[in-house]
């Protein structure tokens, strides 16, 4: 176990009490609404907010136990990418990246050499001498990442690393970020409120609500079986990875899905369960996607029922209990699912 944390922090009305474990090479996304305690959890891990109860252990070394043990942030093997990156405005890009090395006692020349190499790895070697205010949002994000990683931490914390970016750069930066995270061998913890970031970047999801972990697991697990309506609304979407060719998304098993907008390359296709209609007989009409399958799961959450359909294109449909009754669906029933092309949105993976 590389990171084992039980973080209890009281802060105003927030009572955070969350358990979190992660292995080397794993990216865990912490997802939740505003005020759920996501950033406070990161601050606890970084040592910026001492915990009131619990324990934080990295590689078997206790960093904080809410009592006698507290390793201050400057001595933790933790790198942080902050929400608006917080690049020091008075230092050049290279000096920003070298800051951590200089603070830890590396000589000027060696620090500059290593910082230059780190900038090369994120493709910004040419911008070493400029000031952060001259960078684009995506460039600033890469510099922040290089700065956090140059000291070779064991744990990397990213607080909403894509929130400061506009939608068009976001997809590209997200793809770059995934490659960069893949090159870092330690534990990565990512805070986000955007399920697409979690889907594209994380191996595992931890959903935080009012300071508590309400659910955790892979994106597929959580989105297929959301345990609360909040989770269902947040991540309870059908997320299918495939290759876009024009308006067709080809899934790895050969099945295709038709979307209204064209895409290219590696993409996620998103279909909200409410957009999936179920039929006992092959339907005719406008929906471009009509997919055969078999009912695999039926989850009832209050006034809605989520029906999992197995088949070439696995989908979850959200219907009312009345529809479920009328269609007479039970596990194993053969059904047709229809989805309008306009309800299939795609975004680059």
């Amino acid at each position: 176990m590389s990171l084992a944390a039980q973080v209890g922090i009281r802060l105003g009305t927030l009572a955070l009490d969350a358990a979190l474990t992660a292995e080397d090479g794993e990216t865990v996304a912490i997802l939740g609404p505003n005020g759920a305690g996501k950033t406070t959890l990161l601050r606890g891990l970084a040592g910026l907010a001492p915990i009131d109860a619990g324990a934080i252990t990295i590689d078997g070394i206790r960093l904080d136990d809410g009592g006698g043990v507290f390793v201050p942030p400057e001595r933790r093997p933790v790198g942080v990418v902050f929400q608006d990156y917080l690049l020091f405005p008075h230092l050049s890009v290279l000096e920003n990246v070298a800051f951590g090395l200089r603070s830890r006692g590396t000589g000027r020349g060696a620090a500059r050499a290593r910082a230059t190499a780190a900038l090369e790895r994120v493709g910004l070697a040419a911008l070493g001498s400029v000031k952060p205010r001259e960078l684009s949002g995506g460039q600033a994000q890469r510099v922040a990442l290089a700065r956090a990683l140059v000291t070779e931490p064991r744990l990397l914390l990213l607080d909403e690393p894509l929130a400061a970016l506009d939608q068009t750069t976001r997809a590209n930066v997200r793809r770059d970020l995934r490659a960069q995270l893949g090159a870092f061998g330690g534990v990565r913890i990512l805070v986000t409120h955007d399920p697409r970031d979690a889907a594209a970047l994380a191996d595992r999801l931890v959903i935080l609500e009012a300071g508590r972990v309400v659910q955790s697991g892979t994106f597929a697990d959580v989105s297929a079986h959301p345990r609360s309506e909040y989770v269902a609304d947040l991540v309870g979407m059908n997320l299918l990875r495939g290759t876009a060719r024009g308006d067709r998304v080809e899934l790895p098993n050969g099945a295709t899905l038709i979307a209204a907008a064209a895409g290219a390359g590696d993409v996620f296709a998103v279909v909200h369960p409410r957009s999936v209609s179920l039929h006992r007989d092959h339907p005719t009409g406008s929906p471009r996607n009509v997919l055969g399958g078999r009912v695999e799961t039926i989850d009832a959450t209050s006034d809605r029922v989520r029906v999992g359909i197995g088949g070439p294109v696995p989908l979850v449909a959200e219907i009312t209990p009345a529809s479920l009754h009328e269609l007479g669906l039970i596990e194993g029933t053969e059904v047709w699912a229809s989805v309008k092309a306009t309800d299939v949105t795609i975004f680059p993976a």
Partner: protein, 263 residues
């Protein structure tokens, strides 16, 4: 005037003009008294040169001391939470409003030869601050210190402390954070504080003459010389006044353009 906008009431303009004239007329009065032809010679007289040299030395020392004590003081007031912080801040800023002559009397009974601390300085070390150049520096520091505290504390409160947190997560110890992040980020406040403190020290009169006296070459700074010479040698007094005025205008211009933001 825009036809769509409301008309500016004429009486407001009239009163504002009176106020403006009230501030500027004394400057005009001073400037029209200057005998420009002999200005350089007037400033070369022994009295003027001694006063200017002493003022320069003492005000630079005072500004440096005000920074040396004022920056840590501002940091404590901005960052350390303790009981009575509001009272402590009010006391530190007191010299801004207390009549300087009262400050001078206070300094006399604290650091004078019979003062609270001054008696021991005299008995144990033979140090006498009254009627000495060091006394001038002390009087000037006393009135200049609040300017440093007020500007630097505002800068510390106004800066984004998350930069300091970012530095901490990068492995910087407290002293490194202060030196490499805090100080550069509040640099405008530091410069403004130093400049205001220096200008205030340069013009200091009341506390200086009360505490340090009026000895030419030792404690007679430029403002004291102006006061003393106005009767006997008005052309030198006016020349020195012009120097002080020019310096103050220059400080204001620098602060306004670079740090305070032009209106």
């Amino acid at each position: 005037m825009s036809r769509r906008g409301r008309r500016t009431p004429w009486f407001a303009i009239a009163i504002a003009a009176v106020g403006f004239a009230f501030i500027t007329l004394p400057l005009v009065g001073l400037i029209q008294q200057v005998s420009w032809g002999s200005l350089v010679d007037d400033l070369r007289t022994p009295e003027a040169r001694a006063a200017l040299r002493l003022s320069l030395v003492c005000s630079v020392w005072a500004a440096a001391l005000a920074m040396a004590f004022g920056v840590p003081l501002a940091w404590v007031l901005a960052r350390v939470e303790f009981r009575g912080r509001a009272v402590a801040r009010a006391l530190v800023l007191l010299p801004l409003v207390v009549p300087p002559v009262v400050g001078g009397v206070g300094l006399f009974y604290a650091f004078g030869r019979n003062g609270l601390i001054g008696q021991y300085l005299w008995d144990w070390f033979g140090i006498q601050l009254t009627f000495s150049t060091a006394g001038v520096v002390m009087a000037e520091t006393f009135v200049a210190l609040p300017f440093v505290v007020i500007t630097v504390e505002a800068a510390l409160r106004g800066m984004d402390r998350r930069y300091e947190e970012a530095a901490t997560t990068l492995g910087a110890r407290r002293s490194t954070v202060f030196r490499r992040v805090t100080v550069p980020l509040i640099a405008p406040g530091l410069v403004a504080g130093a400049a205001l403190a220096w200008a205030r020290a340069l013009g200091e009169f009341g506390a200086t003459i009360t505490f340090a006296g009026n000895i030419q070459g030792r404690t007679q700074t430029t403002p004291l010389a102006v006061y003393l010479l106005l009767e006997s040698k008005p052309e030198i007094a006016i020349g020195l006044s012009i120097v002080l005025l020019t310096v103050c205008v220059a400080v204001l211009a620098v602060l306004r353009d670079r740090w305070l933001g032009a209106g």
